[in-house]
Structures are given as structure tokens and as C-alpha cells.
């Protein structure tokens, strides 16, 4: 069943077409990745869904309701953790709820425990490592009452080992809560490992050039990265991008 649907979305800045008739949808509880090179207008897509920008044409629908230019309809996790430095971790993860209305510190506490942040509830963000900050930022997005979570290249600033650790952690949490996720990345492996479906994006203007349904069953283990089928899948996506560039 479709939860978020993007229909014929176009947007241009100063007469440069950035998005051209972008169309895709996400079902309830689905993990969908948008994979595209840097500068392919991924952040424009997020700003449109988040309501910060208005499209030139097309509609964005959440549960059948048009949300063009309506801020706060989705939950968001940015590329940088963006935790407020004067709030403790607990106060920070509650921020999303606070903006929308009621807070629930008990659930937040439980979720922090499960995320391996036990004992850090009253710590300030600057006392945490990069990976821990991203966990807190994700929990903030998960706790927000909106039904769809947008993740904007959340692990791109982390080192390789921490990134793998965070990906596995994210899958665990996702398995447990099954929120609907739209994940933006430029890392092919990351997209395959995490998602149900991958949308390949072209650059300038951005369009969905191909849709890949990831064939691997869940729960997925880290060994998958070295699996023959995994590599084949990666090769296929790689070839699709190469074809684009010509």
C-alpha cells in the first residue's frame, strides 16, 4: 500500500532544470534508497518533501493527502547530527516530538538504552563520538510522530568501520520498528545492504532512470558484503550508472 507518492515533480533554479518529472512511491514499512552521484539534486528532493521548497509542477502525497510546501509532514535525519549543544542527549532526542507537541521521555529512555546510549542520557552532544551522535540523531527522527523518515546520507561523514557498524545497527532498529524510510546515499554497497528497493537517479536534471528491487532476504548479515550475488548486484548498478554518463 502506497504511503508516500511523488508524482511528476519538476523544479528548476535560475532556469536550470534540477528535477524533471520525478515520479516514485514508497509503501508502508518499506526501506527505499535514492542512489545518485553528488550534485544530482538529492537535497532538492528532500527540501521539496520537507516543504521548504515548492515544486514548479507535480504533487507530493502522504497517505493520499497533498503536502506540497507543508513543513513538518515527515521526520528527518540530516547528514550532520545537528544535535543542539545546550541540550542533553535525552532532551535532544525529544526535540522532534517537542516541536510537534507532546513528549514521551519514558519511550525515549528505553530507546536510548537499546541504542547502546545507556548512561549518556544526561551527557551533552560534544561528549559523544561521531557514531553515537548519529545514533542519537536517528533516534530523534524515529521518536518524531511523523510516519515517514527521510535520511540524508547520514553515514557519509563516518569512517569505514564505524559506518559498517552503524548500517548493521540501523537494520536492527528498522527490523524492530519497521518505520517507512527514504534513504539518500551515493554509496552503492550501502544502498544494496540496507534497502528493499533502490531508485537510481540521473544528474541534471534528476530523473529515476532505473528501479532495482534488492533480492536478498532479511535479516541481512554483514557477510552479505562479500557474497557473490551481492557483488553481481553491485556490478549491475555500476553498469547502469556508466551507461548514464555516456
Amino acid at each position: 500500500m502506497i504511503q508516500l507518492s511523488i508524482d511528476q515533480l519538476s523544479k528548476s533554479f535560475d532556469s536550470t532544470l534540477v528535477l524533471n518529472n520525478l515520479t516514485f512511491h514508497i509503501n508502508y514499512g518499506e526501506f527505499v534508497s535514492i542512489l545518485g552521484p553528488s550534485g544530482s539534486g538529492k537535497s532538492t528532493i528532500f527540501n521539496l518533501i520537507g516543504g521548504l521548497l515548492l515544486p514548479d509542477s507535480g504533487t507530493i502525497q502522504l497517505k493520499g493527502e497533498k503536502i506540497n510546501g507543508k513543513r513538518g509532514s515527515i521526520s528527518y535525519m540530516p547528514q550532520t547530527p545537528s544535535l543542539l549543544p545546550w541540550r542533553t542527549i535525552l532532551q535532544n532526542v525529544l526535540l522532534g516530538q517537542e516541536i510537534q507537541g507532546k513528549t514521551n521521555p519514558e519511550t525515549a529512555r528505553k530507546m536510548l538504552y537499546k541504542a547502546g546510549l545507556k548512561g549518556y542520557e544526561n551527557a551533552y552532544p560534544q561528549e559523544l563520538s561521531g557514531g553515537m551522535k548519529q545514533r542519537a540523531a536517528f533516534i530523534r527522527a524515529l521518536l518524531s510522530p511523523q510516519p515517514v523518515i527521510l535520511l540524508d546520507e547520514p553515514f557519509s561523514a563516518l569512517d569505514e568501520l564505524t559506518r559498517h557498524e552503524m548500517q548493521t545497527w540501523l537494520l536492527d532498529i528498522w527490523n524492530e520498528h519497521k518505520p517507512t524510510i527514504l534513504f539518500v546515499t551515493h554509496n552503492i554497497e550501502e544502498a544494496i545492504y540496507l534497502s528493499d528497493r533502490i531508485l537510481l537517479l540521473s544528474t541534471k536534471p534528476a530523473q529515476v532512470v532505473q528501479e532495482v528491487t534488492v533480492p536478498f532476504t532479511r535479516p541481512r548479515k554483514e557477510e552479505l558484503f562479500l557474497d557473490e550475488n551481492f557483488l553481481a548486484c553491485k556490478r549491475g548498478i555500476h553498469a547502469a550508472f556508466k551507461l548514464q554518463q555516456r
Partner: protein, 255 residues
């Protein structure tokens, strides 16, 4: 607080050394006391004349506190208005800078001509010197809010009110306190200047009386009193900052 004493001994020692040099120089050169009294005379006068001085001190403290409070209030209000309404910012900001170019020493007697010898012209003088550093500091703080934090708040659906109260105001606190520190010391200076114009009591009055009767020792007592008061105000703001801004990484402490 312990830090203050640990770090404070060096400037205190230098000050003491200066006083000793001053004392010796005055004694050796046989300078008359009405020209430059030795520090011991000044301290003696401060202690002996304490009862008379107390009244003036109290009056100045009350005046500067009241002026500082009003100045802070107006300064903050101006900053918030200028920040939230861009049209007002464009129209008023240049005028604010102009307001600081009017010499207080010229404006103060005029205020007395217009408003008399009451407390109002004095408060206006103090407010005028106090509000500007606060407005500028707060405005800077609001504007320097990192774009990424603002972007998150907007994506999460924060209203303009929430953006201000939950993000911009707390973010501006450290900057705001820099402004408060400057204003706190200015407020004592402003109070003394406004007392020169005509008041019943105050350090400014005490100082005018002392200098016109060639009581140089008392002039110095007044100077030290002003310095002490400014330092005290500054310390109070510093303490408030420590209590309110806990999140600022205190790198200075580690050094």
C-alpha cells in the same frame, strides 16, 4: 571560584608592586599631597571617611543597577525586534550606530535642561551607553546560528516562534553574555557621569566635591571605588554566565 584566587595572585602582586613604587616615589620626591597623595593616605581616607562614602556608594550602586536593568531590557527587546522583522532592521540599524556617536558628555547636560535634575535623565544616560553592546551582541548571536541546525528545525516543522525560543535564543546566549559584560562595566561609568550633572548623592557627586576642594586623596578613593564596582558587576555577570551557559566547551579551564 577557586580559579579566581589561583589565577588572581599575579595581577594582585603587580598591583601591590605598583603601589609600593608609587609610595616610595612620592616620599622620595617630596610631592605635596594635594598634587599626588601616597597610596597609604588614600587607603586611610577610604577607611576614615567610610561613613560618608557609604551613602554615595549605595546611591551609585542603585542607580547603575537600575540603569543596567533597563538598558538590558531595551537592548534585548531591540535585538529581538530587529531580528524578527527584517524591515525594521534595515530601517533602524544604521540609526542605532548613529545614536552611539552622540557624545554623552554633550547630551547629558541637554537632558538635564529638558528633564530636570530627577532620576529620569540619569537613567536615560545609562540606558544609552548600556543597550548598544547588548543589542549588537544578541543580534550577532541570533544571526550566527548554524544553517544546519536551522535546516533541521525547519524540516522538523518548527514554527517561527519555536525556531526563536528553541534554537536562536539559546544559541545566542554566549554572545549575549559578552555584551552584558561590556554593558555592566559601562553602567557604572554612565552612572558616575550622570551624577556629575547634579545629584544629591553618588560617587560622581563625591568626586566633584573632592576635586573642587583639592582633596586629591578623595578623588583617588572615588576612582578606586568606581574600579571596584565595575569589577564586582563584571564578576556577577561572569557567575551568571557560568550558571546559565553550561554547554559551552570550557577549553580555557583545561589550560
Amino acid at each position: 571560584m577557586k580559579n579566581v584566587f589561583v589565577k588572581g595572585w599575579r595581577p594582585a602582586a603587580v598591583l601591590l608592586l605598583l603601589f609600593i613604587l608609587w609610595e616610595i616615589a612620592v616620599k622620595l620626591a617630596d610631592v605635596p599631597a594635594w598634587l599626588l597623595p601616597p597610596p597609604t593616605d588614600i587607603f586611610k581616607e577610604a577607611i576614615e571617611g567610610w561613613n560618608g562614602l557609604q551613602l554615595h556608594l549605595r546611591s551609585t550602586v542603585m542607580l547603575s543597577l537600575l540603569g543596567f536593568a533597563i538598558g538590558t531590557g531595551i537592548g534585548l527587546l531591540t535585538a529581538v525586534l530587529l531580528h524578527l522583522i527584517p524591515f525594521i532592521r534595515e530601517a533602524i540599524y544604521p540609526l542605532l550606530i548613529l545614536s552611539q556617536n552622540v557624545p554623552i558628555i554633550v547630551l547629558a547636560p541637554l537632558l538635564v535642561v529638558w528633564l530636570g535634575f530627577g532620576i529620569l535623565p540619569k537613567l536615560i544616560v545609562i540606558t544609552l551607553v548600556c543597550f548598544f553592546p547588548i543589542t549588537v551582541a544578541a543580534l550577532d548571536g541570533f544571526r550566527q546560528t548554524p544553517g544546519e541546525l536551522k535546516h533541521y528545525m525547519l524540516m522538523a516543522g518548527a514554527s517561527k516562534d519555536q525556531l526563536f525560543w528553541k534554537l536562536e535564543l539559546p544559541y545566542s546566549l554566549p554572545s549575549l553574555f559578552s555584551g552584558l559584560k561590556i554593558s555592566a562595566t559601562y553602567s557604572v561609568m554612565g552612572a558616575v557621569i550622570s551624577e556629575w550633572l547634579g545629584a544629591k548623592a553618588g560617587i560622581g557627586v563625591y568626586m566633584t566635591l573632592a576635586s573642587s576642594s583639592f582633596r586629591t586623596d578623595r578623588v583617588f578613593v572615588a576612582i578606586f571605588a568606581i574600579m571596584g564596582l565595575s569589577l564586582l558587576f563584571f564578576g556577577a555577570i561572569l557567575l551568571a554566565e557560568r550558571l546559565l551557559v553550561k554547554w559551552k566547551p570550557r577549553e580555557a579551564k583545561k589550560k
